[in-house]
Amino acid sequence: MMDLAKLRADFPILGRLENGKPLIYLDSAATSQKPIQVIETEARFYREQNANVRRGVYLLSHEATELYEAARRMVAEFLGARAEEIVFTRGTTEGLNLAAWALGETRVSLGDRIIVTEMEHHANILPWQELARRKGAELLAVPITEGGHLDLSAFRKMLNRRTKVVALAHVSNVLGTINPVGEIAEEAHRVGAVVVVDAAQSVPHMPVSVKELGADVLAFSGHKMLGPTGIGVLWAKSELLEEWPPFLTGGEMIREVWLDRAVWADPPAKFEAGTPPIAQAIGLAAAVEYLAGIGMPTVNAHGRELTALALEGLQTRSFVEIYGPRDPKERGALVSFNLKGLHPHDVATLLDQEGICIRAGHHCAQPLHRRLGIPASCRASFYLYNTREEVEAFLAALDRVWEALR
């Protein structure tokens, strides 16, 4: 159990007002709020420890490098990975672009097949779409069932010997569906495909061990898990990181440079050209420490409790249409919905007047919304600092929105 009042005191922003009302922040799937431990760690770095990394021979630079590499070890431990397999990026989007580009250089050629799913965020569609276009490969999307799950039998039919990549979200940022990555990876590996997982909505909310997951590549963002913006993580199996050419080239990623050629540094440095987001990596490590201190099973259980409460409340309201699985055990900590006949922007604007922040729009998943036959949806998402009272307040406010606009 968590002491919620004590925990909430760690998040200074939760004390502010939104439109004159206490802030009820239900948009952590877009970006999470930050505890003082993270804010202070980043500030302390700039106040007391700031220097570039891997460059200076002076003590300050050595210390900054130590902190940066310690952050990498901390993230590795959090994921059950090895530090050499952890590449710091700018976020999920950059990680997926890096993977798509590198797999294009090494594994995908004319006539090959790339499989994504209908429920992907644009960040896990467009890099593959571009890759398919560049290489003349085909891009297929696994359809979803009425219940909001991946259609696994359709997936099996798509898999063939020419399938080089299967890219999917661990948890959908719209449907909330937790996808069976292990099962999918097992089948994909049978035809020799590389499995790339968009873990933007899973790593912040549930225990994820890359050893157990079964994937080959995994990307997520620091800012959705209490960390700073501008930092993300790409994990990939060592054999892939060894095989891949660098995505960006420049300083800090080389061993030797001549005017006509170069020898790359070993991974992960090979993929971290230029001055990296140093303070942000150290801030992310503080976020990981914070989450690990509470325990991911506890974080997960709390999110599930709030999601169950929200789902239950939404289901009893006949004017609400819910998307994705009904069983909270099959979901991440978010619920997407619509009030019948109302536009999500109206719902979000009216809730905002009560201090309640939810997301409204297509959530960077236009193909999924097209599949659902709706232009947009509302999404409430929960994190460790949200309370049952906030969920109740949100549900009660929905009734008032319905009354005002129906």
């Binding site: 536009h343 922007h345 604007t349 007047q353 009560e354 406010a397 005002a404 606009l405």
Partner: protein
Amino acid sequence: MSPYEEVILDHWKNPRNKGRLSDPDLVGVEVNPLCGDAVRLELKVADGKVADVRFDGHGCAISQAAASLLTELIQGRTLAELREMKDEELLSALGGVIQTRLNCALLPLRALRKALKS
């Protein structure tokens, strides 16, 4: 709880001049692909003035109410006047629109401007 003025709620719930004309002289369509709002304005013109007008569309309350209100605002006015019509006229007729949603409110006006150019 409403930040939506009564005018907006009224036009949203009871849209005026909604539908199609049988033989419009001018037509303007404007959509916002990001949120799915769409407005179609149809005008019948006589002696350089708006003799009849209809709107059709779907989307958020603000865009649809603004479209409905706009049909009332432009009825009987000369095309020359409408070419000069300022955003502020529609916004203030709506009783003010919150910052985050100005784009929705102005969608029908963009449809009108397209119609005038058609």
